[in-house]
């Protein structure tokens, strides 16, 4: 019998990790109007690098290298899609489709390398658990919550206070006016992609850590549960992405815990839940939880 508190912690951990990926979707979409379907394979790339490097560099070193390399790969992908030109919202669907192609290429190569293996990322938490009152929680889940909270907080602070964040928000609203103020649109966009890559590599660690068995070639697909989370939040709102991710993580954990009572819905309903939640919310609020927010007066 699981306790509600334990389930909530599980859900929170899951939601926090989804939020890392969902924020990646949001910054890229906000900066370039592109839905980055390669996010899942970027995540797998980051996880794979951590897995192969941790013997030599230690976990922290491997993770740092993987985060950096994935950020660079995402930045390179951005340059591949746009060159040095300015993002053009009218043709963003072309680049969106190109990201599907890039995803297939990356995923094929990584699948070939990983094969049927389960790779350990060498994280320090292993399968140890902590006791909070009567509840046992995996250390990796607590770490997921703590690390994600710090990373998400950093992203929010960047958004709000840094010149890059201000440039991104201004350019998302009015590219030309931002350009007139001297915002370098291309640079802002490339940095957004780098940030998304870094967040994906970080998320990979927690998706492969206990209680998951390790990194496998399908780990990247989990990223797509963060996709409904980003949509739920309105696609352009970081707080929205966070709220959507937590909602989906909590729902998923609660459904998984009460699988037996929900068996009328069929086995594996937990996997479908993110999309079910997305559809339900969008029925009520077509622009997402935070999508319609925004003051405008003509």
């Amino acid at each position: 019998m699981t306790s509600l508190f334990g389930d909530l912690l599980d859900g929170l951990a899951l939601g926090a990790v989804y939020a890392l990926v969902a924020l990646g979707f949001v910054v890229v979409f906000k900066a370039s109007g592109v839905i980055n379907f390669a996010q899942g394979s970027l995540l797998l790339f980051g996880g794979y690098l951590t897995a192969v490097l941790h013997d030599d560099l230690g976990f922290a070193g491997a993770l740092a290298a993987a985060v950096l390399a994935t950020a660079l790969l995402a930045g390179a992908l951005d340059r591949l899609l746009f060159g040095r030109g300015d993002p053009d919202p009218r043709t963003a669907h072309v680049q969106t489709i190109v990201t599907i192609g890039v995803d297939i290429l990356l995923l094929t190569d990584l699948s070939r390398r990983i094969g049927g293996d389960l790779l350990s990322l060498g994280d320090p938490w292993g399968d140890s658990v902590a006791r909070i009152g009567s509840v046992t929680v995996a250390d990796s889940r607590l770490a997921a919550i703590a690390v994600s909270a710090v990373a998400i907080g950093a992203v929010f602070a960047l958004f709000r206070y840094s010149g890059w964040g201000l440039s991104l928000r201004a350019a998302a609203e009015d590219q030309e006016a931002a350009a007139l103020m001297g915002v370098r649109l291309g640079r802002v966009r490339t940095l957004a992609w780098c940030l998304a890559g870094a967040l994906a590599a970080l998320a990979a660690v927690f998706l492969a850590a206990f209680p998951a068995p390790g990194l496998e070639r399908t780990t990247g697909q989990i990223a797509f549960k963060a996709f409904p989370a980003a949509i739920l939040g309105g696609m352009t709102s970081p707080p929205g992405a966070l709220a959507g991710s937590l909602l989906i993580g909590l729902t998923e954990a609660l459904v998984a815990a009460h699988q037996a009572e929900l068996h009328v819905l069929g086995e594996g309903f937990g996997d479908v839940v993110p999309y079910a939640v997305m559809v339900l919310v969008l029925l009520v609020r077509p622009t997402g939880l935070f999508g319609a927010k925004g003051a405008a007066r003509v």
């Binding site: 440039s167 030309e176 007139l180 103020m181």
Partner: protein
């Protein structure tokens, strides 16, 4: 890339400039004009005459519209402006206030003003503070509501914010595109006063206007564009007396009120 520091005695020289959109649509043909340091030059003309295109060529935003300078040259002081790099213009001290205000609606007043300094990279806090004080002195209304979303300001306040945002980059030459557009007559007078005040503080102004009365009352020199070519040019007071300008842009009956 050598970046000359903003030059107080720099003049804007537009020489025989042709601008073409999408390689086919000719928007400007052999247009020349000069804005002397500290001067006010008005650019008049009907819709589609090429006024905004000329500003885009100077501020470097032609590329966003798939346009390019195909002949002639634009220089501000020692800086050559090629119509394709807004950052270069901002760093040289040339900043444009776009037509229709275009403030960032979801950003606060404060944040909108911060965007005005983005092109200059890192600046000393004292410099930023000085620019902000200047804006707040000009527009006390903005100082009263720094945390309000810009989209909730009135049209006139948004125009003030758009001008204030540009002033945050401490320009030596301000490009104003139709600042009176869609504003109530009282607010138009207020904007005219502000432009005069900004100019008195030493900033040159290139003013694009459909409200010819207001523009000619502010400007030393004026140019009239017609379908991409210069139709008339000369001292503003002289132009205001020519028949063509009176008939086409001032309107016989509204003459007295508009020129006020």
């Amino acid at each position: 890339m050598p970046e000359a520091p903003p030059d107080d005695r720099a003049a804007l020289h537009v020489e025989n400039v042709d601008v073409t959109y999408g390689r086919a649509l000719s928007a400007l043909r052999s247009v020349s004009l000069t804005v002397p340091p500290g001067g006010v030059v008005a650019l008049l003309g009907a819709n589609g005459a090429g006024k905004t295109t000329l500003l885009r060529a100077v501020s470097g935003t032609l590329r966003l519209h798939r346009g390019a300078i195909t002949a002639g040259s634009i220089r501000y002081g020692s800086t050559a402006l090629d119509g394709r790099d807004p950052v270069r213009a901002v760093r040289a001290g040339v900043v444009q206030v776009p037509e229709g205000r275009r403030v960032f609606a979801a950003l606060t007043v404060e944040e909108n003003l911060r965007t005005g300094g983005l092109g200059l990279g890192r600046r000393r806090p004292a410099q930023v503070q000085e620019a902000r004080d200047r804006v707040f002195t000009l527009f006390p209304r903005l100082a009263e509501r720094p945390r309000q979303a810009a989209g909730l300001l009135s049209g006139g306040e948004q125009q003030m914010l758009a001008i204030g945002r540009a002033l945050m980059a401490a320009p030596r030459l301000l490009l104003l595109d139709e600042p009176s557009l869609g504003l109530a007559p009282l607010m138009v007078d207020r904007i005219a006063e502000v432009v005069r005040e900004i100019n008195t503080q030493g900033t040159a102004v290139l003013l694009v206007e459909q409200n010819a009365g207001m523009a000619l009352s502010l400007a030393d020199h004026a140019h009239v564009l017609e379908v991409g070519e210069t139709r008339l040019a000369g001292p503003a007071a002289e132009l205001a007396r020519t028949d063509a300008v009176r008939r086409l842009y001032l309107g016989e009956s509204a003459d007295g009120q508009e020129a006020a």
